[in-house]
Symmetry: C2
Subunit: 349 residues, 2 copies
């Protein structure tokens, strides 16, 4: 067919190193080295090569290069969802560090599905990524799929939701201590009955926050009052409202609430406000994570800044460090990012 032949014929071939070499009557190796600014190549040649490359619109085929060098300069990132602010901040940090180190970042969403998480690790086994940064999905209870990557010598770094009982690189915040400090802050401003709206206790970080809450109470000789403690399924805004409704009707009413995230805290603020309970005078509220909304809600919400961006930076730095390590990696690292309690109006007495 005429048209087919024509369209095929028109498929212009990309310019390669060899084309450039022929054009300049040099060896391909010389071109390659010239483009690498190799010291063994004369300045004049380098200039000629650069000029010609520009002229012919030549750019290196990075796949061929990756193939030969066995380096892709790509790292993979698996997150439950990208559109959760915390994760998008972490990814932003990862991308920032990776970009400056010359690495590309390929992202995958597990959508909290274990099956999909496994599928993704299969894809990542193909040496496409030189290392992987992971935040576990909620369904993940075994780590065999990651162990496998590990055995294939693919460096791994986990962040936030990290595997318990598996030796691995981890970037975490000190959830226990952060919660401890947040609760202690409530005690210090004079709260006597401090409630907790917590996350799913099968997730390590939420359990640690609850433990921190309890430890602070205990330290100051406060009783642990079960009637003041509620655990949500997924720390949603709606669940927060549900439990806040219960808290507001208690007699005596709690005068402080430590919530495991900002959504539930904001929800609590609104529920208490609707019942005309003054914040922070009658009840002080503290959240966790420093979501954008915490600076917008009235009163502004006291919360724990978990430094998500810095977690991303740290994760990328650790991972790339291990990728570029010549010797075999024989150690794992656990890095704890320092949090800070941002005291705002919701707990300023």
């Amino acid at each position: 067919m005429q048209t087919f032949a024509t369209s095929n014929f028109m498929k212009k071939k990309r310019i390669t190193l060899v084309d450039l070499a022929k054009e300049l009557e040099l060896a391909a190796s010389t071109i390659s080295r010239a483009l690498d600014n190799h010291p063994g190549i004369s300045i004049e040649t380098k200039e000629k090569v650069l000029k010609k490359a520009e002229e012919l619109g030549f750019t290196r085929n990075s796949i061929a290069s990756s193939f030969k060098k066995n380096k892709t300069l790509t790292i993979g990132v698996i997150v439950p969802r990208i559109d959760i602010h915390f994760h998008s901040l972490v990814i932003s940090g990862i991308e920032e560090f990776a970009y400056k180190a010359g690495y590309n970042v390929t992202i995958f969403q597990s959508r909290d599905s274990l099956e999909r998480e496994k599928e993704i690790t299969k894809i990542l086994q193909n040496k496409m990524s030189e290392g992987v940064i992971i935040c576990l999905g909620t369904e993940t209870n075994s780590y065999e799929h990651f162990e496998k990557l590990n055995r294939m010598k693919v460096p791994l770094v986990f962040y936030d939701r990290v595997p318990t009982g598996m030796e691995a690189n981890k970037i975490v915040i000190n959830d226990f201590e952060s919660a401890f400090k947040a609760t202690e802050h409530l005690i210090e401003i004079g709260c006597k009955r401090i409630s907790h709206i917590g996350g799913n206790q099968s997730t390590g970080i939420f359990k640690a926050r609850f433990e921190g809450y309890k430890a602070a109470l205990t330290k100051h000789d406060f009783p642990i009052d079960e009637s003041l403690i509620y655990f949500t399924k997924d720390l949603s805004y709606e669940e927060g409202a549900l439990f806040a409704e219960k808290l507001v009707d208690l007699v005596p009413r709690p005068d402080g609430v430590f919530c495991s995230n900002d959504y539930t805290a904001v929800s609590a603020i609104q529920v208490f406000q609707k019942k005309l309970v003054k914040i922070p005078e009658e009840v002080a509220i503290v959240g966790f994570s420093n979501y954008p909304i915490s600076k917008i809600i009235e009163p502004h919400l006291t919360t724990v800044n978990d430094r998500a961006f810095e977690m991303g930076l740290a994760a990328a730095k650790l991972l790339i460090g291990q990728i570029e390590e010549e010797e075999e990696i024989i150690q794992t690292e656990i890095i704890t990012i320092k949090t800070e309690l941002l005291i705002r109006e919701s707990s300023s007495r």
Copy 2:
């Protein structure tokens, strides 16, 4: 040195197709085809190969494969910032579609820097990505760097902030019409003096929203009152408050405000509330973009759902369609995603 030699020696080589072939006394080509489930290979052989591959922990070197097939199954995405909710939603949509189509997504942040945007396009010229999805940074005023990619036959799809005057694939929402409808909605519920807090007018989408606002007023024989119109630099929460302060003191006060995004709208709600102006009774407020906060702020904010996730899906679909097109691409497409006005309490009379 002993240790060096040892560690070098220990660097276990990856299993290749050829290793597998030797082990099974088959040709490499047979292995390759077996793994591809090629019809020309007998079931028994396929089973043997699969079994052995599993046994030896073989996985294809996808770089070698990409290199040979000249297909990377990777698309690039350039966004100003990942941690802006709108973009993270779009990326989520892109990843979702791409994943199901067997493509990987590599992300880059331009951070609204033209220089960085150009750098990224340079990186993307290396045939690493088979196509690119882009949201322009604020600094971007020329498109030469993208034209260059275009000339190299790399399919491009722009979304949201798209290049004006450049023929290209674009995924947009109808900003004009959305703003028109939002404003008309305010008119329909009885607002007589409708204000506008707009975005930077050098950005197409914000200009279009302003035009839509004006058109709705004009259609209903309302005057365009300059004193009711403010343009922000970047539609920040803070800027919104600044201009809302001015609006609330006007006599007569506006009884409706159409804001070009939700941050400024939320800010306006709070400023009006502080001055004890009742919403929606005395002033109705409408935002744009359906940020999470719009469902949380009291009263809940009426806003335009821009369907960011769907934009991502559409962008990926269009791009991958073009990547897989055999014939030369001789057309560009502009897809307009339908928005919807979500009427909530802030404008419910």
